[in-house]
């Protein structure tokens, strides 16, 4: 059913259609509207049977989910940013135990300095946690990915994060086709756990494993993600058959035929990139887009396949490997090892810094002419950075960094109009 609806509400509808049995809620922007909406559904009896638990922390949210999932219940929670870091120990534990929990990550920057706006640092910090990570381009895809995520997680008995850009998607009202229950029921069978705490058949879950078997247990998680590379496109095509639209998959290309330059990115910024590419195509530029939907597992072959025909690629990412450069870019470079392509990284949009088409036009044109340095920081105010560095050279007690920067920048509205 078509609705004009907030992204968070739409996701809550999708999660509810997946018949979750235990939902853990803890507030953190920009995820909060999702669990608020689910709470209302459970309390009103619209979503039943379901236990909605107001936990005391994200660490508890993930831990309660672990218990619920190990006891055979379909478990869901949502978080972002500091919340994801706060639950990290349990995040690794859930995947290590092989529990198919689904969690929405409303992507948000990580402090300090504390910042509530969107970038991808939070879920990317959990890159190696053993969780799969699927990135939504828009709210329709966010809805659809949740439905696919429960199916995939439970098939493989591994947890999944569905990542959607904080505010840009979670708080945006757009047209979304909300599936009906019959469709979701046809796509998503009830949860049959591989391991379950059951007094009729007692098992021990979570025993200590020494050097004799630890490698194998860890490799299993890797093997599961390799299986997911096979299953994700199949599940997307099954999804198309039932729901009548394309959503998910490993990667997607846009105007890539004959492209000499390919822009690679994840999440909602793809929309701005596509618009820019459309305009450049109109002017005759041979430029295309590669969207990465599945960040983990990382589809090396598919990325390579999508890029091999081009001359150069530019990875535009909302994350930073401090002391190195790009996080996503490293993976993309790995995928095209030995292919002789020129590769560029643009770090953009950290902490919610807006990414404008005008900036992208300039950036893409520079890339086309191979005039970019290996790593570019889009819209970085180098003067402000240099002023702070100078201050630190001159004064030992140079003061708190963030405060100095804000002081230098003046009133924020002066910059953004």
């Amino acid at each position: 059913m078509l609705k004009q609806i907030e992204g968070s509400k739409a996701v809550a509808e999708a999660v509810s259609l997946c018949r979750p049995e235990v939902i853990c809620a803890y507030p953190i922007s920009p995820q909060t509207h999702i669990v608020e909406a689910l709470g209302e559904m459970v309390k009103s009896g619209r979503l039943a049977p379901c236990e909605y638990i107001n936990v005391e922390s994200e660490f508890a949210a993930m831990s309660v989910s672990i218990g619920a999932s190990a006891a055979g219940a379909r478990a869901y929670t949502a978080t972002a940013s500091q919340g994801l870091l706060f639950m990290t120990e349990a995040v690794y534990n859930a995947s290590g135990l092989g529990l198919p929990i689904v969690m929405t990550v409303a992507n948000r920057a990580i402090g300090a300095p504390i910042n509530i706006w969107n970038d991808h640092s939070d879920s990317l910090s959990q890159r190696d946690s053993g969780w799969m990570q699927l990135f939504a381009e828009n709210n329709q895809e966010a809805v659809d990915l949740h439905i696919q995520a429960f199916r995939l997680a439970e098939e493989l008995s591994m947890p999944i994060m569905v990542c959607m850009d904080g505010y840009i998607l979670t708080h945006a009202f757009e047209r979304v086709d909300i599936p009906v229950q019959e469709q979701v029921d046809a796509y998503l069978p009830s949860f049959e756990p591989r391991q379950v705490l059951d007094p009729s058949e007692p098992i021990s879950i979570g025993a200590m494993v020494g050097p004799e078997a630890f490698m194998e247990v860890k490799y299993l998680a890797h093997a599961k993600q390799l299986q997911a590379i096979e299953r994700i496109p199949q599940l997307a095509s099954e999804f198309r058959n039932i729901f009548g639209r394309d959503s998910g998959g490993l990667v997607r290309t846009y105007r890539a035929d004959d492209a000499e330059t390919m822009v690679v990115a994840m999440g909602s910024v793809i929309g701005t990139i596509k618009d820019t590419v459309d305009e450049m195509r109109d002017e005759g530029h041979r430029i295309g887009v590669l969207t990465i939907v599945s960040y983990r597992p990382f589809p090396l072959e598919q990325v390579r396949g999508a890029l091999l025909h081009c001359r150069r690629f530019l990875v535009l990412e909302k994350s930073l490997a401090v002391g190195m450069g790009g996080i996503l870019a490293t993976d993309v470079r790995m995928a095209v090892t030995g292919a002789g392509l020129k590769g560029y990284t643009a770090i953009a949009g950290l902490g919610g810094r807006p990414i404008f088409k005008s900036q992208l036009h300039q950036l893409f044109r520079q890339a086309e002419k191979d005039e970019l340095p290996p790593v570019t920081f889009l819209d970085l105010d180098r003067d402000a950075v240099n002023r702070q560095l100078e201050r630190e050279r001159q004064t030992r007690r140079s003061g708190p960094v963030a405060e100095n920067m804000l002081h230098d920048k003046g009133i924020v509205s002066a910059k953004f109009g």
């Binding site: 049977p49 638990i53 831990s63 979570g206 025993a207």
Partner: protein, 333 residues
Amino acid sequence: MGFQTIKFYQTGTYTVGNRLLLPDQRSVQAGESRSNSINSGHRACQGCGEALGARYAIDAAMAESDNRLIAVNATGCLEVFSTPYPESSWQVPWIHSVFGNAPAVATGIAAAMKVKGKKDVRVVAQGGDGGTTDIGFGCLSGMFERNDDVLYICYDNEAYMNTGVQRSSATPPAARTATTMPVGPEPGNPFGQGKNLPEIAMAHGIPYVATATVADLRDLEYKVKKAMKMHGARYIHLFVPCPLGWGTASSDTIRIARLAKESGLFPVFEAEHGEITGVLKIRRKVGVEEYLMPQKRFAHLFGSHSHPEMVIRIQEIADRNIRKYGLLDEEAA
């Protein structure tokens, strides 16, 4: 009240003799149908109070729940010694997640049982004093506050034993641990620190809170069974001597536990909805020295470089407990 109901005790041990009791009053451990929830063959040290306490507690919970029990374990000695891969001592469905989240994992299981309509399946969570009073404290308080249907058992051996005897917030004053060494003018753990978790649990107003020791295993069984008859959040704080960490003889575990109770240092009581409903009286009052002296962790209080002033302060703690909880019969007082 000048008298107590008479019970029959075996000579010297104060343990009620099974043969003198009606079959339904006998110890779970004495019954053929005991579940052996934690099977023999585990790797606990000889004389481990935690292994003993856990065995009695979980078997009693099994008996009371008609063997429909799921157990959660925080990281710690009990978890490590019971499940060295690929072996497990646990005859009940059992899960270990991480160190600080056992109460929350248990909440999740209880929620799953509720949503699936499995009303008969009960949930017990367990952790050491470190896992309970320190790192798992937030999750524990959350579980209490929501009144989740979980019985939580804390095995209090008064330090982080699994990592080699470091101080926790349950370590008593003056005790030597690897991080509170018996050096300097005030050797051992400082006075005036630590927290009283049973009272904090009571402050949550939860249906049931009890303390117990492995010296009185019948009392422990009674409290576990009573807790299992109730629903909502319940807490049992069990005093379990650790021969390795305390420097006591393996054969002395029960005696040391009894001295902790008989000195007043470890008050044994039960409470419902935040109010104390019963106290196990001291039967033969002893001075704290009698409890402290057999333990190497307190050796620096005695002998050539003794610290009598610290012993006096410990005695004051015991006396305060005796007054506060009414541990002595008026007659004996």
